[in-house]
């Protein structure tokens, strides 16, 4: 059994425009010291996948910077390792000439060359807006046992209480986990449903033929044109995943997902799995220094910070400085944010390198956090 990874780094960027204005979904910062792609890459690496292609679209400087040679994920390899797959645009004939891909299937078409050169039996595909610590080895095992062509990892969601992105694939399956129906989520769908996590295992040879078939028919959608059209002919299965999983569909969802990390159970399931660490780029920050007068409670804090004020229920990224007398509550402060003396913040999400001057008072609400863009000075 060997598998190759394929990561979609830009899919769903439009869901959180504030955070993806200057970066890809893959490089959106999350949980004090991570970028979203860290979860995807770590899941693959922890399942023994050592060859991963990352499909990019646009705006991927920050992603390149984050990945580097891939050594932080042990993916700087002579054979295999991490391969960035910038968009493949042909200048010649065909419907897609001179155009960037716009769907998952079109993105896969651009990765045909990469996939056809592999010798691996399986392809594991994943987006970056999904946060979990899943044992992909187990998914591949089931895929193999069921002799599946495609296995889609699904998770149960309550569509009444959770925000679901409108394009999400809602999947029904029979008692043998065989996919029986697939529809795009819309507002009329209610109750507890299984949705695709967009973590998909496919048999490589099957996938290649399906993509080239779809390409010659001019199809554009993976779920509608490949899965749905072939439901009766091919072997499509679901893998039910019931571990911790969040999908980031909006800024408030992003905020809520970060805050979930303050829950001990969530932290255990995401970071506490033996042999399945979440790997990220090393920054070599010094340990965080708490001064006299610091008062911190129920917060997750990265290294390289200097805390002199009050911090409650917050997610503090690397290199953040919190001044004397400052009060930070329910906030997400990204890398190198500087909070001046006597500042008061509540439900604020600050992007990287934000400077909040002494005495400022800013507040949002948990359902509508106050967002401060990268490099802003207030």
């Amino acid at each position: 059994m060997s598998a190759v990874g394929l990561v979609f780094s830009n899919i769903h960027d439009q869901n959180i425009p504030d955070l993806t204005r200057k970066r890809t979904m893959a490089s959106v910062p999350f949980g004090c010291r991570y970028r979203l792609i860290d979860f995807t890459l770590s899941n693959m690496v922890n399942s023994g996948i050592t060859k991963i292609g990352v499909i990019t679209h646009n705006n991927y400087q920050s992603l390149l910077d984050h990945i580097g040679t891939g050594k932080d994920w042990d993916l700087a390899r002579r054979s295999g390792g991490i391969k960035l797959l910038p968009p493949f645009i042909t200048s010649y004939s065909g419907a897609g000439a001179n155009k960037l891909y716009s769907t998952r299937l079109e993105a896969m078409m651009g990765a045909m060359e990469f996939l056809s050169r592999c010798t691996d039996d399986y392809v594991v595909m994943s987006d970056c807006d999904a946060i979990s610590n899943i044992d992909l080895g187990d998914v591949i095992r089931q895929h193999k046992e069921t002799c599946a062509d495609v296995t889609v990892v699904t998770t149960k969601v309550d569509t009444d209480s959770l925000e679901i992105a409108s394009g999400s694939a809602v999947i029904s399956s029979d008692e043998n986990n065989r996919i029986s129906e697939i529809v795009h989520f819309n507002r009329r769908i209610k109750g507890i449903k299984e949705i695709s996590t967009n973590i998909i295992v496919a048999t490589r040879k099957y996938l290649l033929s399906a993509i080239s078939d779809a390409s010659s028919h001019g199809y554009t959608s993976f779920y509608t044109d490949i899965i749905d059209r072939n439901l009766l002919r091919a072997n499509y299965f679901v893998y039910h995943y019931d571990g911790f999983y969040v999908q980031i569909n909006s800024l408030s969802e992003y905020y809520a997902s970060n805050m979930k990390l303050l829950d001990e159970g969530v932290r255990r399931s995401l970071f506490g799995e033996a042999n399945r660490p979440i790997l990220t780029k090393v920054r070599n920050s010094a340990p965080t220094r708490y001064a006299e007068g610091a008062n911190v409670s129920n917060s997750l804090i990265a290294d390289g910070c200097v805390v002199e004020g009050v911090v409650e229920n917050s997610i503090i990224f690397r290199g953040v400085k919190i001044g004397r007398g400052a009060v930070v509550r329910n906030c997400i402060l990204m890398q190198d944010t500087v909070v001046g003396d006597d500042v008061s913040l509540n439900c604020v999400v600050s992007d990287k390198n934000v400077l909040i001057k002494d005495g400022r008072n800013l507040s949002g609400h948990s359902t509508l956090p106050f967002f401060i863009g990268k490099g802003t000075m207030i």
């Binding site: 932290r267 506490g272 979440i278 070599n284 010094a286 340990p287 001064a291 610091a294 804090i301 290294d303």
Partner: protein
């Protein structure tokens, strides 16, 4: 395969560090953890790469397992190079002889072939027991400018402490005319920092001669430097005035950790222009619980703090549970201070479990000495460990 290097470093990392007792039972001194997420050897290695020296031979001997594993291919320090990089140099069996490293000078002598491979003009000799940030390239410039045969980095120390060090007496132009190892009545305050730059052919000459002398103890301080002085070689003192601490004793290791604290720490790890690199083991960010109280402390990745931490340094992945109190202490990686336990004025090595309501040490004001608990010790619930005790098993 080899390209010429102007200067390479040789890092003496074979020392046992016997005065650290319980902390060096299973590891060599350079691998002793320091400052939350570092090991002592990170400081000379980071200094090398920050000074533009990309070839470092690390001479190991005593308990090398942890050290070898830690250095690995040198990736954390950017020393995984196609040409040069970091190389571990253990004692080996030669064609005619097979010897342990008999002294600091002998260790380098046995690896002259390594130095010659790179055709290095200068050799920087370092040791793995000091905490400091130093730009070796400035010292090398000084060595070249003075056309010296040997340059020794020195620190001006208070007169009353001078008898603990190797003391240099220098002329106005910093040329050294006298060197005394631990003098009873020091006539100078320039203490050797154990950092030398040699011009390679001189080093080769004196090491070879030293090796042929059966009465020599094959030591740089005791033999090589005095012999070179007697032969009137050009030797200069290079004055350094930054923070430098020998962490060879329990007391100095504790002090050096405490020097990282305060609003303006005497040793700043957060200096972006001179980063200290370390090998990382991906752990989650630190979590500070709702009832936690933290003052004047540094805490790092993987830690979980639910109790009280004051004036302390907490290393990677250590946990301080509800109601536990840690004061004036150094808690190393993976150690758990269980609920209600109290740790004061102590150094607790890695993966120790301090049981519920146990007491380790006494308040600093009235403690006899620092209490030390060695790695992997399990202290039973309610147990009292008196101040000044040193425990490596229970």
């Amino acid at each position: 395969m080899f390209k010429k290097k102007k200067c390479i470093a040789m890092l003496l990392a074979g020392g046992q560090g016997s005065r650290l007792y319980a902390l060096t039972q299973k590891t060599a001194k350079p691998a002793v953890p320091f400052g939350g997420k570092y090991r002592i050897i990170d400081f000379p290695l980071s200094n090398c790469i920050n000074s533009g020296i990309d070839t470092v031979g690390v001479l190991t001997q005593y308990q090398p397992l942890v050290l070898n594993d830690y250095i690995g291919n040198g990736l954390p320090w950017d020393l995984d190079r196609t040409f040069g990089g970091v190389k571990i140099l253990p004692p080996y069996q030669g064609n005619k002889t097979a010897d342990w490293y008999k002294g600091t000078a002998n260790a380098i002598y046995q690896n002259l072939a390594f130095i010659n491979q790179y055709d290095a003009d200068y050799v920087l000799i370092l040791s793995g027991d000091h905490i400091y940030k130093m730009d070796y390239s400035k010292m090398l410039d000084y060595h070249i400018e003075k056309e010296a045969d040997c340059t020794i980095a020195v620190l001006d120390v208070p007169l009353e402490e001078a008898s603990r060090f190797g003391i240099m007496s220098a002329n106005e132009d910093n040329s050294i005319y006298k060197f005394t190892e631990k003098p009873k009545n020091p006539d100078s305050t320039l203490a050797s920092m154990g950092i030398y730059i040699f011009t390679t052919d001189k080093l080769q000459k004196y090491l070879t001669e030293d090796n042929e002398d059966p009465d020599s103890s094959n030591d740089f301080g005791k033999n090589i430097i005095p012999t070179m002085l007697a032969a009137k070689e050009k030797m200069f003192a290079y004055k350094f005035d930054g923070y430098w601490k020998d962490v060879g004793t329990i007391g100095s290791l504790w002090e050096a950790n405490m020097d990282l604290l305060g609003p303006r720490p005497s040793f700043d790890l957060g200096d972006e222009s001179w980063r200290i690199f370390a090998r990382h083991f991906s752990s989650a960010p630190q979590y500070i619980g709702s009832e936690a109280k933290i003052e004047n402390s540094i805490i790092t990745e993987g830690c979980e703090i639910y109790g009280t931490v004051e004036n302390s340094v907490i290393y990677t992945g250590a946990k301080v549970m509800e109601g536990a109190v840690v004061r004036d202490s150094v808690i190393m990686a993976g150690t758990v201070i269980e609920a209600g336990a109290k740790v004061e004025y102590s150094i607790i090595d890695g993966n120790v479990n301090v049981g519920k309501d146990a007491k380790v040490g006494a308040p600093r004001e009235r403690a006899k000495d620092i209490t030390v608990i060695g790695a992997d010790v399990k202290i039973p619930d309610g147990k009292v460990i008196a101040d000044g005790e040193m425990i490596s098993e229970i």
